[in-house]
């Protein structure tokens, strides 16, 4: 099954999938975390977001999903103004965006298959997706296809807390795919993985980006990954965007400047 068959991915290459304008966010005691942040991400792009600790990358991602409320500014995500959405509309928007976390955030005591099926929660809207044994066959089948895409169909019945770090992150990606997403956001997806597994996961992301035409925005501290697995780089420092351009035009030395 291709995600395109569902009609969820637009093939128009220039369509802007995410547009952030003059976004600001501050926290009590920490001051401004995001200052006048603006950026755009087009359909099918793979964009790496880089920057030092505390530069505002994760806050920016969470603001885009409205997991954190921004102070002001505009976010247009998949043609919807994120700030003006009511709760059901926001849930609907979130269901179209696969978010992959650094800590994977699987539900530990449940099976891999159940965790993947949770990706269909909004679409199915039924209690049957709480566990794999109550889910409809077509949902279970789709979850197995998503597990196949990440190379782990044999672990479907394993418990999520018995997986290695790499396997766990792949399951999190399968869960995101189960959402039939138009966009994937990954917040330091390989930070807790060893270099070999980290590279495998990044290759999986980029394969999904190329083959499934999934727009990808990920945060990385690994500059090699950022250069190798992205079309475009956005650099942040002190809550501001300080670099935005095509990846091949940058060297590792250029990127190191951001961390000074």
């Amino acid at each position: 099954m291709s995600l395109n068959e569902t009609g969820s991915v637009d093939d128009t290459p220039e369509e802007i999938r995410l547009s952030v304008s003059s976004l600001n966010k501050s926290f009590k005691g920490r001051g401004a975390v995001l200052s006048d942040v603006s950026m755009q991400i087009r359909c099918g792009e793979a964009v790496a977001l880089i920057g030092g600790n505390g530069s505002g990358k994760s806050t920016l991602l969470r603001c885009c999903m409205r997991l954190i409320e921004p102070d002001n500014g505009e976010i247009i995500f998949l043609r919807q103004n994120v700030s003006s959405l009511n709760k059901p509309q926001l849930r609907s928007l979130r269901s179209r965006i696969g978010l992959v976390f650094q800590k994977h955030n699987l539900v530990p005591r449940l099976s891999v298959l159940t965790n993947v099926i949770h990706g269909a929660v909004w679409r199915e809207g039924s209690m049957r997706t709480y566990r794999h044994y109550t889910a409809p066959d077509r949902v279970r089948r789709e979850a197995m296809i998503c597990l196949e895409k990440v190379g782990l169909p044999h672990l479907a019945e394993s418990r999520a807390d018995c997986l290695s770090g790499g396997e766990s992150q792949r399951v999190a990606i399968a869960r995101a795919l189960m959402q039939r997403p138009d966009f994937i956001i990954a917040d330091e997806p390989v930070a807790s993985l060893d270099p070999k597994v980290g590279r495998e996961v990044m290759e999986l992301f980029i394969r999904l980006n190329r083959e499934e035409k999934l727009t990808l925005l990920y945060v990385s501290h690994d500059l090699d990954h950022a250069l190798d697995y992205s079309d475009r780089l956005i650099g942040m420092s002190g809550g501001r965007v300080v670099l935005d351009g095509v990846s091949r035009k940058f060297s590792k030395g250029d990127l190191n400047e951001i961390y000074r």
Partner: protein, 266 residues
């Protein structure tokens, strides 16, 4: 930082406590000593009472087993009261604890209302609940069962809610980011995470319910307690010892089952 002569002061082993804290500790200590008189604590009475205790224990043996079948029936009824009361109490506690956990409650007013109900159930002692229910529904095991339900809600409700508050937020955030509703998040992320704690608390509640159900009979709320009271009041110490041994075996059996279930489920 390099450790040099300029920075050679070792950290203090103990921090100076604030004066008001010191005064508080002294007040608590003095009040403890003062409370000895109020509590009637008397080592001499304890020593002089030892022969009586020995006499009663002596009169308890050998246990009288003439009414064993009747005592067994009452004991079984005690367990039934505890079991039904604990299970119903646990089910009510689960729903109440969802409303009483700040992260899952639909509204802050519902949170406070649920917390109040749980605190009220817990703060009134079970014997007082038993007296109220005996007055309301009459003597017998139903009053005892209702008491155990309320007592279990007070106990489990608090621990269930606290377990829900402490659960890792990661899976919740993941489900939230996928567009899940609050109910789905609770059932799919919160409940699996707190399940070991729930099982542990529930089994402990069952043990507690069995112990409570023995005492409830003293105020007429069914079970073996009333038999024990009658036996003691009528100086039938041999029969009382049979009842006490029965209670001991029942409590130990429930605790052993509880330990086994913990090992298997966790």
């Amino acid at each position: 930082m390099k450790y040099t002569d300029e920075h050679n002061a070792l950290p203090k082993r103990f921090k100076m406590i604030a004066a008001w804290k010191f005064v508080m500790y002294v007040i608590i200590g003095v009040f403890f000593l003062y409370s000895f008189s109020g509590s009637g604590f008397s080592p001499s009475k304890l020593v002089s009472g030892c022969p009586n205790m020995g006499r009663i224990l002596g009169e308890m043996f050998p246990p009288d087993i003439h009414r064993l079948s009747y005592i067994s029936t009452a004991m079984f009824q005690t367990f039934q009261m505890a079991f039904v009361g604990a299970v119903i109490g646990i089910i009510i506690s689960f729903f109440l604890s969802v409303l009483a956990s700040r992260r899952n409650t639909p509204h802050i007013s519902i949170y406070y209302a649920s917390r109040f109900v749980i605190a009220f159930c817990r703060s009134v002692p079970d014997l007082v609940w038993a007296v109220i229910f005996v007055a309301s529904v009459g003597l017998g095991p139903f009053a005892g069962t209702l008491t155990i339900i309320v007592d279990t809600v007070g106990f489990c409700g608090r621990f269930f809610a606290e377990a829900m508050e402490e659960v890792d937020k990661g899976p919740e955030e993941a489900l939230q980011s996928m567009g899940a509703r609050r109910l789905h998040i609770v059932m799919s992320a919160v409940v699996p995470a707190v399940l070991p704690s729930f099982v542990n608390t529930s089994l402990y509640a069952l043990e507690k319910a069995v112990r409570s159900s023995v005492v409830l009979g003293l105020v007429g709320a069914g079970g073996i307690g009333i038999e024990l009271k009658v036996a003691m009041d009528m100086f039938l110490y041999q029969e009382a010892s049979t009842i006490i041994i029965g209670i001991f075996l029942l409590v130990v059996a429930v605790e052993q089952f509880s330990m086994y279930a913990r090992r298997e489920i966790m």
